[in-house]
Symmetry: C2
Subunit: 83 residues, 2 copies
Amino acid sequence: AVAADAQAGRAKALQCQACHGMDGKSRLPEAPHLAGQVESYLVKALKAYKTGARKDEQMNLMAKPLSEADIANLAAFYSSLKP
Amino acid sequence: AVAADAQAGRAKALQCQACHGMDGKSRLPEAPHLAGQVESYLVKALKAYKTGARKDEQMNLMAKPLSEADIANLAAFYSSLKP
């Protein structure tokens, strides 16, 4: 386990913003809102996208290079935002 | 396509509430909040759970018997709730 760092997650989220926004509000009909989402659910989702257990062309590409720390930080960042 | 009926979705959501709440707020660390989520994303997720394209033991069981109308109604209901 790694200590989550929402500030580091914010920096990493620059690559997520085109679809999910820096505010965690979806920019596309097929992308979910992430603001205020359950942190442990976001970790689970990103891990599943990284391994390919959960399939989505775009998200598999985005999640593949993420480290365990990146995932924890992104989940901490997006879960901390006001929905 | 079917016209979505949030009231019918509310009735159907009785079977979702143990994990997602009637208010769309997660009751479990592994379950996402659904309140105010993007309607088209919820439809996509439920269809993927129904077909098994998206794998989750519990959600595959829950989504399997849902009709296209049930899915549209559930998505209309949960997306209409305040996050």
